[in-house]
């Protein structure tokens, strides 16, 4: 069902030079500006982008998870509880957050993915709400609505160079950068190799895939677990960056936000779409909330999402604009098969 009708080969529209230039640009970004607001927006967008990649991977198998923020909450709470309550250093608890979140995703996936389609979406909503209610009411461990204040990771000393997380956001930026690159490489590899193809097959025609000997549940659970691991890591890092976790930070509306970022960014490219969607929508949301008229940000945010969905060709997102642009500028027009106007028209 999710197979792109207008398939764009990202190997040809994003050559290594351009990709490398982008990576270098973002690597030296803190040198260009150390404006804390800009960097904070980029850090948050990068963290959300990792969660969005997880969502898109689950979507590749045809399942529509509406509880991804719950895994961020699980990762965040695991790392916060381990560091603050048990005094374990940050980095081991960061990894533990990913492991725990992945294990929970595995168990949930094995139990719940048997109900596919819209039933799975509703089950994930219920799961997310259960996580939120437990976090709100299990005060002995999660401190309820007050939330847990986290501490920044201990400074890392290499020679006479010290990376201090407490004084500046630049270390957070670079670690986010590493995390996004790592997650991006993993998701890209999964998506491009045989297993990604199997995911698409499972989504496009479950019955045919099953007759070809593909174990549907196995692949759905793999996608859900990988997404769970990375979403948990993203949650653990986000919580440390914001230095607080409360149950309201990761409610149903954050899961919906993840979903919107994925669709608006475009699902044809798992990494590019997630990065563009998360950055655009997060930045939009942040700047809109500064407008002097109260509540106008919700109106404009909703309108922006609906307009993107209405006016981009169906099955594409913002990321596909890049492919269109690249082919317009650098290629002969006939090499790139854009859909006919009549095909693009609705209905």
């Amino acid at each position: 069902m999710m197979l792109g009708r207008y398939y764009i080969d990202y190997k040809s529209v994003l050559p290594k030079v351009v990709a490398g230039a982008l990576v270098v640009l973002f690597a030296v970004f803190p040198v260009i500006t150390t404006n804390m607001v800009t960097l904070s927006i980029l850090i948050s967008s990068g963290i959300w982008a990792i969660a969005v990649m997880g969502f898109t991977l689950v979507l590749r198998t045809g399942q529509f998870s509406m509880g991804q923020a719950a895994f961020m909450a699980i990762g965040g709470y695991v790392s916060a509880i381990l560091t603050v309550k048990l005094g374990i250093p940050y980095w081991p608890s960061f990894l533990a957050a990913g492991v725990v979140s992945g294990l929970i995703a595995l168990v949930i996936g094995v139990i719940m993915l048997s109900a596919g389609g819209i039933y799975f979406s509703i089950i994930t909503i219920a799961f997310g709400e259960i996580v939120r209610i437990v976090a709100l009411n299990w005060e002995a461990v999660t401190r309820g609505a007050a939330g847990i204040l986290t501490r920044p990771p201990a400074p890392i000393t290499i020679g006479n160079f010290e990376i201090n997380f407490a004084t500046s956001v630049v270390p957070y930026y670079y670690f986010m950068f590493l995390l996004v690159i790592m997650a991006g490489l993993v998701f890209r590899q999964i998506d491009r190799t045989r297993i990604g193809g199997t995911f698409r097959g499972v989504a496009a025609n479950p019955m045919l895939s099953e007759h070809l000997g593909v174990h549907l549940m196995k692949y759905r659970v793999i996608a859900f677990t990988v997404a769970g691991v990375f979403t948990g890591l993203a949650g653990a890092y986000y919580v440390t960056f914001l230095s607080v976790i409360t149950p309201l930070m990761f409610d149903l509306w954050k899961s919906i936000q993840i979903m919107m970022m994925s669709i608006v960014g475009g699902i044809s490219s798992i990494v590019g779409g997630a990065l563009i969607g998360a950055t655009v929508l997060y930045t939009l949301g942040t700047y809109l909330s500064r407008l002097p008229i109260y509540n106008i940000q919700y109106l404009l945010f909703g309108a922006a999402v609906v307009l993107v969905l209405l006016f981009l060709p169906k099955g594409t997102g913002l990321v596909d604009l890049w492919g269109k642009f690249w082919h317009k500028v650098f290629r002969e027009p006939e090499e790139y098969e854009m859909p006919e106007e009549s095909e693009m028209a609705v209905e």
């Binding site: 259960i130 999402v305 209405l310």
Partner: protein, 287 residues
């Protein structure tokens, strides 16, 4: 045994969830999509009634109908300009889901901008209580229950005794065959979306005097009616009614006994229903 007042409250909530769930199921059975902005039509309905009464001085029963018509028309516009244009084969489900979720933000932002974020009360519409010895019921709550019965009866008549109802039932069962017999499925979708949104709006407006009116009042009824139709079975109208009753009572009577665990119990119940019997209590098995 919880006090009788709790039972009455549960019944009132059941009525609201029932009315909303009914509209959602109706939309789902024809359009094949869930309208996630259903709760916002509930909220807009409440606002229309609030302003009809306080600003224009229209009597309550008439403003109920006005709110149904206005918000039903708005629902038709949404169907025409958003849902229909996004229902492309292959992507429809995904796109309509995201678009209606974005409409949630849109309508809440619009309502917040236009009407402000403060709670608004409408306590003076149907004052007085009915004294029944050991407990009393306000006339407003009795009105909610009577209104819901009237709505359900009217929907029964429309669906079973009129030509439009016949077309709706035919389009729900076999869209292709129905269109072969000259039923415009597009127009039926439009009508059904209008009816569904009008039902949500009227549920919101009848509740406006009981609770306060604010831009975010639609979120919880939306989730609850969604869970109600899941428990009852997607696409089953009986299921929507029974699911609404179960949820209303669970939220009040069971909550009286076990406080917040009732919410956990509710979601666990939904998960169990979906895992054991995905088609819900009253739904037909999937083809």
């Amino acid at each position: 045994m919880p006090p009788a007042g709790i039972w009455i409250d549960g019944l009132v909530q059941s009525c609201i969830y029932m009315t909303m769930a009914f509209g959602m199921v109706l939309v789902f059975s024809i359009l094949g999509i869930l309208n996630w902005a259903h709760g916002q039509f509930y909220m807009l309905g409440a606002f229309v009634v609030y302003y009809a009464i306080t600003a224009a001085g229209i009597p309550f029963p008439v403003s109920l109908l006005i709110s149904g018509v206005v918000v039903g028309g708005l629902g038709m516009l949404v169907e025409k300009f958003v849902i229909e244009r996004l229902s492309v084969p292959g992507y429809g489900m995904l796109y309509v889901t995201v678009a209606t979720l974005a409409l949630v933000f849109f309508f809440e932002g619009a309502a917040g901008m236009a009407f402000g974020l403060m709670d608004k009360g409408l306590a003076t519409v149907l004052p007085g209580v009915l004294d029944l010895g050991s407990f009393s019921v306000s006339y407003q709550k009795i009105a909610v229950i009577i209104f819901t019965l009237v709505i359900m009866a009217a929907m029964y008549v429309v669906l079973n005794r009129t030509k439009v109802g016949l077309a709706i039932r035919a389009a729900a069962q076999e869209p292709v065959a129905a269109s072969l017999y000259g039923i415009s499925v597009k127009r039926v979708s439009l009508i059904v979306m209008g009816i569904g949104c009008a039902l949500a709006a009227m549920a919101g407006s009848i509740m406006a005097p009981v609770y306060s009116v604010n831009p975010f009042m639609g979120r919880i009824p939306m989730i609850m009616s969604l869970l109600a139709i899941v428990i009852g079975g997607l696409g089953s109208l009986t299921g929507a009614i029974v699911g609404g009753i179960i949820l209303g009572l669970l939220n009040s009577v069971i909550a009286y006994k076990i406080s917040y665990f009732s919410e956990v119990a509710l979601f666990v119940l939904v998960i169990l229903v979906l895992l054991i019997r995905p088609q819900g209590l009253f739904g037909a098995p999937q083809k």
